[in-house]
Point group: C2
Chain length 197, copies 2
Amino acid sequence: MSLRYALLALFTGRAMTGYELYKQYLGSTEFVWHASSSQIYPELRQMEAEGLIVGEQIPWRDRGVKTRYSITPAGTESFKAWMNEPLPYAEIRDAHHLKAAYFEWADPDAARSQLTSHIAHYTTLVERWSRLIDALKTGVNSPAQPRLDATPVAEHAKIVRFKVFTYEGLLRRAEGEIAWAQAGLALLDELRPSDDT
Amino acid sequence: MSLRYALLALFTGRAMTGYELYKQYLGSTEFVWHASSSQIYPELRQMEAEGLIVGEQIPWRDRGVKTRYSITPAGTESFKAWMNEPLPYAEIRDAHHLKAAYFEWADPDAARSQLTSHIAHYTTLVERWSRLIDALKTGVNSPAQPRLDATPVAEHAKIVRFKVFTYEGLLRRAEGEIAWAQAGLALLDELRPSDDT
DNA sequence: GAAAACATGTAACCGGTTACATGATTCT
DNA sequence: AGAATCATGTAACCGGTTACATGTTTTC
């Protein structure tokens, strides 16, 4: 049920079409909540039906129209309410760690290559979050720009710091995953049968 | 689709009934893959239909029977194949970090209490994984015992070390979440409007 | 002229959650 | 006598994935 609140969060910055939401945020890798376009469009219509957002038809190129949605006061209230509510914690379900716990069943090379992929995956995340933190701090290409433009200057620092805080958490997490996988590679090396034939 | 492999992984240790699987592993918090009983029973029947496990009716108390399943050679093969395959990485979808990125919309007290819950949640996980690692290392109440009993002694060290490696990763992750939430609390304190009226 | 981007969807499926159901047995 | 545990499920729902569809316009 968080997709709806991820959308409302983005709408607090500015009005957007489904396509913009998808391309610039939920479908890109630079946001904390991923969604596919086939999920976004129906959800937007649902949210409009519930009065959280309103759509307006705006012209698109020569012919045709597109729908740009903006948040309503009811939408803002609903978002605030969600922000003040506690969020339940999901039960653990971690396939990568499940596999690692049974690595003796894998070929050592397969285990090794999976840990290498783990490192590669989280390395791209480290780069991504680092770039994002940098953009937030310098204001160059900052994803928070729409939010800042819609807010009095006095609150800009606050907004930026919460986002930096968030992405630094994700950055540390990704670094932790890399360290873990590296320890795994070391362990595999250590357990490799010595070929002193 | 990992539920099936979590079950096969457990069956490599010993034969079990659905109830045992649920109570001792998937429904308890001491395992890396959670599942509800309403998910386990149908999956077991499905797996039996596909020949990955076989069930035998064993007597239960005076009257009645229960079904105990054990892994078949086909099941072992299927598990090994999964262990050797790479696992795709899911898109990010992190409601807790999403909220943190928009903390300026929450009442400071609500934000504070959510970070406190974050710390509490991951503190219980730290305790849990620490206890588990300890059990694995000392062999007292080790969850790996069935696996070890079913394996030549020469391979015991390997099995234990992969599990310790896994749970140490989860432990570090939980510690990282605690550190992150503590940084968040510090940030909230810092941003608190000074009441020097 | 072809490919990528713009814009918006539908339909089938799938894994997991929640709520509910049943009946025996053992423990307090 | 009542609660907890053993043992096994069904049914409805819900969020998300995958595959597919359509037509325009801009860029290479």
